[in-house]
């Protein structure tokens, strides 16, 4: 199987879908002629032309809203946010319009749009460029939220998201764009709402999404090698819809859960998982549900301290050990 980057996997997904469906188009700041701020859309403008790959001015509210309007009419916009942090100037369009119009129209309208871009901290760019809004977008019924951790998942989930008839908020990660992984040629889909056990284990479940999955995998290796603890790593992949079954099955097997989350702790994604476990896995648990999340402060600029703010493998290991 070809080994390509997370970035290339996304790029391939766009190329597949642009070729397959003429209603699909990409737009956003710098996506066309500049090849994308993070080169995720590289070469697509040359290949598909200005009708399908569109540079926009720096007007997030307007182009997000334009995407919603176009999607209502049956087009399938894939709208890039240079950073998900910039969505905040256009949240009205995402939450009130993409998120609520179907409901308020009694189901007469749907908004088949993908809003995508990186949503991560850890890149030394300060608080305004480090937000992770998956929790509060998943808090909006009507929106779907996807956070792939690997190149394989990125491509399959992107193709599913573009084909989905609802609005999908697709959150990538600048720190993962260069990661390599095996990715098949051609189109394939990974359904939204299906988690994946990325590592089998019997002693504790590490439940994570996005880059925290990789952190959890690294922690699992240390736990195995140094402490004889076999951790199972559950990658949520999609936040909403959520695959609760896989989470519950894993915890029923391991009887311990440590939630690893680059989201903030207050009402973060991990809060939702913790509530799920409290409600539905209480009798399975041999220890309290523990969490390792981003530290509860705005993302700090200073590099060594910023590293401390996000979960790393050693912190996860320590947290797991504390649960025994």
């Amino acid at each position: 199987m070809p080994v390509i980057t997370y970035r290339q996997a996304l790029n391939d997904a766009f190329a597949e879908e642009l070729s397959r469906d003429e209603n699909v188009f990409l737009m956003g700041e710098e996506v066309a002629q500049y090849n994308g701020a993070y080169k995720v859309t590289e070469g697509l403008w040359q290949k598909f032309g200005s009708k399908r790959v569109i540079d926009t001015p720096i007007s997030e509210a307007a182009f997000l809203g334009m995407g919603v309007g176009a999607a209502m009419m049956g087009l399938r916009p894939v709208v890039e946010l240079m950073f998900w942090s910039f969505a905040y100037v256009g949240l009205d369009q995402i939450i009130n319009n993409a998120g609520c119009i179907r409901y308020m129209s009694g189901g007469l309208i749907n908004v088949p749009m993908v809003i995508r871009g990186p949503a991560n901290g850890g890149t030394n760019v300060g608080a305004t460029h480090s937000h992770t809004p998956e929790n509060f977008l998943a808090n909006t019924p009507g929106l779907k939220v996807v956070c792939p951790a690997t190149p394989y998942d990125a491509k399959g989930l992107m193709i599913s998201s573009i084909r989905d008839n609802d609005t999908v908020c697709f959150m990538e990660n600048t720190l993962l764009y260069g990661d390599l992984g095996e990715v098949p040629d051609g189109a394939y889909t990974i359904p939204l709402g299906v988690a994946e056990v990325k590592r089998e284990g019997i002693d504790v479940s590490l439940i994570a999404h996005g880059r925290a999955v990789l952190t959890s995998l690294a922690a699992a290796e240390i736990l195995s090698a140094e402490h004889g603890i076999e951790a199972e790593v559950v990658d949520l992949r999609s936040i909403r819809p959520l695959d609760e079954e896989t989470i519950l099955n894993s915890v029923a097997k391991t009887h311990r859960a440590v939630l690893v989350d680059e989201n903030k702790p207050f009402c973060g994604v991990s809060s939702q998982i913790a509530a799920l476990l409290a409600e539905q896995a209480f009798d399975e648990l041999d220890a309290p549900v523990l969490r390792v999340t981003a530290l509860d402060a705005p993302a700090i600029y200073s590099m060594p301290l910023e590293k401390l703010q996000l979960p790393d493998a050693q912190v996860v290991v320590a947290k797991v050990l504390s649960s025994f």
């Binding site: 188009f25 009708k51 569109i54 926009t56 001015p57 007007s59 509210a61 307007a62 182009f63 997000l64 809203g65 334009m66 995407g67 919603v68 309007g69 176009a70 999607a71 209502m72 009419m73 049956g74 087009l75 009205d92 369009q93 009130n96 319009n97 119009i101 179907r102 409901y103 308020m104 129209s105 009694g106 189901g107 007469l108 309208i109 749907n110 088949p112 019924p141 009507g142 779907k144 599913s160 989905d164 008839n165 609802d166 359904p191 939204l192 709402g193 299906v194 999609s238 909403r240 819809p241 959520l242 695959d243 609760e244 939702q272």
Partner: protein, 442 residues
């Protein structure tokens, strides 16, 4: 509220013509169909509200519509509120001869009257039940502005798309939505056009090219642009008409839209329904302008013009031309239409009588009412008789009353319906809709 802002900030300069002398450029370049006349005949502006007592000033100083001479001194040609017809008509073009009107058949003209009367009677009926406590929410009445929606709908070519804000009942009925479904929606009933999930501000009928009904001020503007984008993308010869209020133009996203619409050469017409007020804030207290609200488009190389909205002929002539230009030339346009609402911002608007005088409202009713004007016009043209008008009026009243009966008799939405119409995939029970948990309540 916006009011506190203007209270604490600088007194308005608009009342001081001398300061503005020579400042205002004469912008004629892109004004089509001589709407500048309307603008220049704008009534004298109110004096600037004193910092200390806006309410008192507003109450004491209705726009002195009848004192036309003052208008000459006004250096800011604001279209709000438009000059009463008696002042305009002397200089106005005879819009009935315009190509968009000349070939209208009597039946069509009568149809416009019927549509306007239906909107008015529908809303009056709704108001009655609102005041009885039969419905909740907000009720933003369109009464006084009916000509704008009806004129617009009459110009739609089957491919054109429209979208508006929360003052949306008129547009809904004008494009052909039924009174029953609309009334039932106001009552929150399951038979409502949005199954009781949207309410007064959120009517939609995509099959009639009507995309809402939007409660967030200005939020619909980029959606309208998206409709235009889709039309052009699909190669359809239609345009999108996006309505917004005189208050909504101050939302940042509207400026973003003007830029993008021009940049992408989109077939979109933004229609500013300038009724002079955004809630209790008069235009001059909300907007810094040089010539008009529409003229802001100049900075984005977007064509713009002004037009009176009281005379259906005038509205149709002006809007028809710019819609056609959008369809064929992919030129966006901003059309500022002067109009007036008689009721409060919403029925819940407790301040309805504070920010403008009863006299002002009365003057608009007697001099500018679009329905009365149209009736007079049709009588003059001998297209209809008094009895004919009365018949249509009675039918509209009966239809509205029947709609209320329908709404009252209709069931509430079912409890299960709370979780319907959220995700298309779930509603259609597709594999995607059945994979993973979508809703997180018990």
């Amino acid at each position: 509220m916006a009011r506190t802002l203007s209270l604490s900030s600088k007194p308005k300069k608009s009342a001081s013509p001398s300061k503005k002398k020579g400042v205002r450029p004469v912008i004629t370049k892109k004004v089509t169909k001589a709407p500048a006349k309307t603008a220049n005949k704008a009534p004298a502006k109110k004096a600037a509200p004193k910092k200390s007592d806006v309410k008192a000033v507003a109450a004491k100083k209705p726009a002195p519509l009848s004192k036309a001479p003052k208008a000459a001194k006004v250096t800011k040609a604001v279209v709000k509120p438009a000059a009463p017809v008696s002042k305009v008509s002397k200089t106005s073009t005879d819009w009935s001869k315009d190509p968009f009107n000349a070939k209208l058949k009597p039946a069509e003209k009568i149809g416009f009257l019927r549509e306007m009367l239906r909107i008015r009677r529908f809303e009056q009926q709704a108001l009655k039940h609102y005041n009885n406590g039969a419905m909740g929410g907000f009720l933003h009445l369109y009464i006084g502005q009916e000509s704008v929606a009806v004129g617009t709908a009459s110009l739609m070519n089957g491919k054109d798309e429209i979208i508006t804000a929360y003052r949306d009942h008129g547009h809904a009925l004008a494009v052909g939505m039924g009174m029953d479904e609309c009334m039932a929606e106001l009552f929150g009933k399951g038979t409502g056009c949005s199954k009781g999930k949207g309410g007064s501000m959120h009517f939609f009928a995509p099959d009639k090219h009507y995309w809402g009904g939007h409660g967030i001020v200005g939020g619909q503007a980029p959606l309208g642009m998206g409709l235009a984008f889709a039309l052009k993308y699909k190669g359809l010869k239609g345009c999108a008409v996006a309505f917004l209020g005189d208050g909504a133009v101050n939302q940042g996203v509207f400026s973003e839209c003007l830029n993008m619409a021009a940049l992408f050469e989109l077939p979109v017409v933004f229609v500013i329904e300038n009724n002079g007020y955004s809630m209790g804030t008069s235009l001059e207290r909300s907007s810094a302008i040089r010539h008009s609200l529409a003229s802001r488009a100049e900075g984005f190389d977007v064509d713009w013009s002004l037009c009176g909205g009281f005379d259906l002929y005038e509205l149709r002539a002006n809007l028809g031309a710019v819609m056609e230009k959008a369809r064929t030339k992919f030129r966006p346009h901003v059309l500022e239409v002067s109009t007036y609402r008689y009721y409060g911002h919403s029925v819940a608007d407790a301040n309805a009588k504070k920010y403008r005088s009863p006299e002002e409202i009365e003057r608009y009713k007697t001099e500018c009412d679009p329905i009365t004007l149209w009736e007079k016009q049709l009588l003059k043209e001998k297209v209809i008789t008094e009895a004919g008008i009365e018949k249509i009026n009675a039918e509209a009243k009966a239809e509205a009353a029947a709609a209320a009966d329908f709404a009252i008799a209709s069931p509430w939405p079912s409890e299960e319906s709370i979780f319907e119409d959220i995700y298309h995939e779930v509603d259609h029970q597709t594999e995607a809709g059945q994979t993973g948990r979508h809703f997180f309540s018990e």
